[in-house]
Symmetry: C2
Subunit: 418 residues, 2 copies
């Protein structure tokens, strides 16, 4: 029997009415001849309620108890979804993480899958069950304690089940109807993509597109799980949404397929750093320890200082989320006080944003960067930092030009047209 | 290490503040040198929320899914209680039913204990854990599905753990401060009992006293678990509350220790029933099948009919809760239509109440019934039906005299004085 994995997020199962709506989508796939594994999140708001209680007990809570409490939200939805399917005469039952079992590491609140044995669920499919409703976001540790994968982990659960059970596809039902060339709130020209390659989706997810969790895309790419993103709140059919798949499945790709942005960025420059081996490690190790998510890094010879102290100094610039600036500054000042690094000045610019273009076509096309920089120059937008990967070019610019930059790049790469 | 079981009901853990209050009571016992097993209910209101959702999915829901959903309420409290204890530096962890494991039958929503192996919890006590916080009201079936014991089952969980672990005592913390000679809302002369025998508590529980679930008292009696009922909301010490114990522990007992009542009773009489062997079974089997909880039963020769059809007819009277009268009537009419029973008329009196006196002293004292009937006669209260057991006398009377009857009996048996 061909098998599908279908995942419904918190807003898609927020109340009994929505659970029923989701169950109807599941029933339709069963009627088409599929066995289905449904992965559910907690009803929206419930996880926050549970987390609030845990945080209310203690500022330094035991992550094992946190997991045991918080995982209950998904268990409730799983039971209600199974009941709703049964009411539609679809043979269904719920599965909690320990019942499958979803074996994970013991890293509570950030657990990783070890394995998902198929035996228990396969036995029930063989006995006539058509739908296994699995509580997302959770598992069980080797010690028999309940674990969670961290927030948003239900997407990852869905992909892991699709890989373990060799699903034909993993459908992620959410509150948007697919992946767009850019955020439709920024330009009405944004176009829904029919297909997008794993690598592109991965870049978009890490660049701030909120459709899918980065880790779930990584996992899908590794196990070649075809992912489909589509809306819970619309009529959907086989052609709905956006398919995230191997690039081989995409006949012809444009050079650029998406424009992403991240609004709350900050740029930090350490002015006149001694330029010697090991200096990067001396700077970035304390930042990592302080939990600062450093994104772009640029090292450039500071011309004026070069004349004064030839060959011995540089400026080091990096970006991080705005709300981590205080932590970054503290880490740098402590490192300077400890004598592990030295710099003249720490210059912070909290008024920047990151804009990126992404496309697997870049690999085989020259001139993408030039086209991007020209489009920005035509709008008089100054580029402060540039960083590139094989299929992505990101720039930091003044935050006030962010929307303008996104619109200009969407036009320049003709993303409106399929 | 001596061991205590402490159980906190839903109102005792209704929010974080109350959980903290309960945790302080647990800590005090740990400080006194006890290992403690804490049994918790769901935060009050949560079980109703979960049940409401389940009932919203389907009128004929799968009890296995009901159990999986509803049991999550206790899991949340168990985690929060463990966290709160940890914050007080008491080594504690939560246990869900399947983790202990609490092995039960597969009778979902009405499961019974099969066994509670001590190994897992004992291992943790040996490693330094001082408190095991166990989710009440739940277990796991031989098939690995989550079961529940039915509502109020957390008292039963507490007693079962006390029996399995040989606890010195099982303290049931609730919203009243003990067991009273009668309901203090009916007479201010009601007195809190220091001790009460299992048998008496059992009668009082089945007669409508809401302090303890009948089944938990049965279990405590069978395994000789000393139960103490006391308040979550007051300062308590070793002498607080009421101890429910073996009668050997009670030095001197009065003839009557309590007056119980049940307000919403109905009396149903089948007039002129053929008096032949098997007629009782023919009447009460369909009532049981229809889910009518028949309580008192009286069969009496109907004088006037006796003259018409000598020796062959009788009247059959029974009582049941008022809200089951419609069901009872339907069952009787169907049985008559099917020809398995025959009667002239079905007379229903929905305006009655049951008042009972309970005391193990009755066994060795004559004249208790006479004293009861005289007290009621002195108030001109007519007795409609009488039923007795070894340690209890119950009467059905007009509902409007119920409070008066309770007060009169409380006075007549001098329950105000210890």
């Amino acid at each position: 029997m061909p098998l599908l994995v279908m995942k419904f997020g918190g807003t898609s199962v927020a109340d009994l009415e929505r659970i029923k709506n989701a169950a109807m989508k599941v029933k339709r796939e069963v009627d088409r001849g599929y066995d289905v594994i449904v992965i559910v999140s907690a009803m929206s708001g419930k996880t926050n309620e549970l987390v609030g209680w845990v945080e209310g007990t203690s500022p330094l809570f035991d992550a094992r108890e946190y997991d045991a409490v918080v995982a209950s939200g998904e268990n409730v939805t799983a039971g209600l979804m199974a009941l709703t399917l049964q009411e539609m005469e679809v043979p269904a039952r719920s599965w909690q993480g320990w019942q499958v079992p979803i074996n994970t590491t013991s890293a509570h609140s950030a657990a990783r899958f070890v394995d998902i044995p198929r035996e228990n669920i396969d036995t029930k499919f063989a006995e006539g069950m058509k739908v296994a409703v699995v509580a997302g976001f959770q598992g069980v540790s080797p010690e028999g304690r309940i674990t969670t994968l961290g927030r948003g982990g239900s997407d990852t659960t869905a992909v892991a089940f699709a890989a373990a059970f060799g699903a034909e596809r993993c459908d992620i039902y959410t509150d948007v109807d697919g992946v767009y060339t850019t955020d439709p709130r920024i330009t009405s020209k944004a176009r829904k993509l029919e297909k997008i390659a794993f690598e592109e989706m991965l870049e978009l997810a890490s660049l701030g597109a909120k459709v899918l969790q980065t880790r779930s895309v990584e996992l899908a790419m590794r196990y070649k799980v075809r992912l489909r993103v589509l809306s819970s709140f619309e009529e959907t059919d086989e052609k709905s949404g956006t398919l995230v798949c191997d690039e081989d499945e995409i006949m012809e790709s444009k050079v650029v397929n998406g424009v992403a942005y991240s609004r709350e960025e900050a740029k930090i420059t350490l002015v006149t750093v001694e330029d010697k081996p090991g200096i990067s490690a001396a700077i970035f190790a304390p930042l990592a320890e302080a939990g600062v998510n450093v994104d772009m890094i640029v090292q450039n010879i500071s011309e004026k200082d070069y004349e004064e102290y030839p060959g011995s100094v540089t400026d080091m610039t990096f970006s991080c989320p705005v709300n981590q600036v205080a932590r970054a500054r503290k880490a740098m000042e402590e490192a300077r006080a400890a004598g592990t690094i030295d710099y003249e000045e720490l210059v912070v610019d909290t008024e920047v944003a990151k804009v990126s273009v992404v496309g697997i076509g870049m690999r085989s096309h020259a001139g993408v960067a030039a086209r991007m920089f020209k489009a920005l120059a035509d709008e008089n937008i100054n580029i402060k930092v540039i960083s590139t990967s094989e299929i992505k070019i990101s720039v930091l610019i003044d935050r006030k030009y962010m929307e303008l930059a996104v619109q200009a790049l969407h036009d320049a790469f003709e993303l409106e047209q399929a």
